[in-house]
Amino acid sequence: MTRYCALFILIVLAFGGLRLAKAQDNYEIQVYGSDTVAPNTTMLELHSNFTVEGSVPAPGSRFTAEGLYPTNHAEHETVEITQGINNWSEVGFYIFTSARSGDGWQWVGDHIRPRVRAPDSWHWPVGVSLSMEFGYQRALFSPDTWTMELRPIIDKQINRWYFAVNPALERSFHGPSVNEGIGFSPSAKFSYDFNKYISGGLEYYAAYGSIAGIAALHDQEQQFFPTIDLNVSPNWEINFGVGVGATASTDHLIVKGILGRRFDWTHHRAGSSDSTQ
């Protein structure tokens, strides 16, 4: 596994390049899998991210040099509610919040995220889905307030190995990045099932800047999260990781956790060998 990790990091860093990257979004740190929430089912997730070492206030100010709330020692709590529509689509809704000593607990913004996937009946060799996330974040937390993200999702589980890649494209509609066009923010994950309940892996998050002109490496965001997924029950999702920023523009150390609970409003689970009562 170590060899795969090293190779993965090298490939990703080799993309290092040119120009300015976008602001980092440490509210929902997750590489998406292609599966959607089942119909008549609601997924409630709490994303808890603590920045151990992040941006700090400018001298004599509550804010950073960019005029944002600092991320150093900030606790970001995000509630994500996702409702399954049918067996190939879902809609997610986010409430972003931030808490930091001296700044109190503040509402940051909301996003909505419809998602569709290639239905099982297409029998594709890999899982594929596409999400479109749109919403608002307050200017004190993100210089670009109204943004949209288009995120293709490709994944594959082969026995004990899992691979996922999310080559996301971002667009700002209000803020300093409006004129920069479309930004490229890929993320990826691979993991290995140690047993039925514990999987360990590595997640990668990046923001390379505009696709028209990739930012210089030190202006890019590059983060690596060794993670653990606990599969204690089909109704629960538990993910934990510690992220290390690899460039000057990235928060250097973040601890993240995701706790999800699935609520199945149907009486019976279809087409499975699971107990039906």
């Binding site: 589980q157 899992y162 499975s272």
Partner: protein, 450 residues
Amino acid sequence: MRTDRRDFLITASLAMLATAAKTKLWAQTPADVRADVRLEISPLKLEIAPKKEIHTVAYNGRVPGPLIRWPEGKPITIDVLNRTDVPEIVHWHGLWIPSEQDGAMEEGSPMIAPGAERRYSFTPRPAGFRWYHTHTSAGHDLKRATYTGQFGCFYIEPKQSPGAYDQEIFLTLHDWNAYMGGSGDASMDAFYDYATINDRMLGYGDPIKVREGQKVLLHVLNASATATHWLALAGHEFTVAAMDGNEVPQQAKVQAVRLAPAERIGLLVEMNRPGVWILGETRLEIRKSGMGIVVEYANQSGEPKWIDPPETLWDYTLFAKQEPALEPDERIPLVFESKFHGHGDVDYWKINGKSYPKTDTIPLREGKHYRLVMRNKSSDDHPVHLHRHTFEVTSLDGKPISKLRKDVIVVKANSYAEIDFVAANPGLTLFHCHQQTHMDFGFMMLFRYA
């Protein structure tokens, strides 16, 4: 009150009788004599709805295969011709017949090579609703074995009166176009694109035609490779009269029935609500995938209607005597466990810590009364099947019951179940989970007669 030994041993006595006479009853019929039934296994393009074709394998070019209706105790010969390019075998499910005729290679029945023909000769018993199906392994190829259309109904007519009803209908449930997907137990399992009752999706087959006041007997078989199904007839109640072809000791009315793979049920329905109704899966998504059939009263027309039944918890004990069964001569503990192979693979299975073919072969003594004490430590249900014997369900999750006779019983996830049988049919005897993904990956074992 305890079960009378004589009552309990009815099943065993009949089997013993057959055993004693087996030389005569099961003698091979000369090959130049025309067989009573002929089955041809061949590829089939099955149209389950307009423009929905399933490429499968079936008996005599139809799904289900032909209904074999035969008097109890009368010898039968069945020729099976394999016109596919893989070895095949036909298992006569629920019949008390010798190992070499039973149609399971694990017991010593020979496979039928591609292009070859084999004659099965046996005397069908016991009376009731049995069935026949392929007994091959599919492994990861979900277009083989019981994923195909290789199944059919086998009704052994009782010598005495079969019961009071006006119409008798055979229905088979099946799922089609299986593919692997992530399941609730964190491993892969089979999911399906389509489902049918008999050979057509809901809305595309001939309706069942009934008249007001009729009493209809439905013989329903779940011939799915892996899926458990719930069935209801909108606006009507079922009276459960038989399970796995054996009369239940305690009839009970229910709104919906649950059938695991290989289970059969005999349902009496009073046709007392004129209209056009759907008999189908209780779950909308499976009904939409095709599992349903229209029931049409005489002189009624219009769109078929569905009414959701109240939520039903399936409870075998409703149909059993609420009294303990006779104590067995010997108890055989069986522990079922899964072995994880990654979220991207199916689970592998162990009985008493071993996977087939490494499972222990347990010796039986003819005439002895055994109890299988089963503990399912996995998070999957297991519809377990004992070949060539009928068993009595004697305890479910610690609740003692008796006189419910079956050949498949669902041992629920993380639960206990006990079944009794008398070793009355010498020969290798296969015991396995009837879920194709479970039996193919270790969930099988053999009993042998000492």
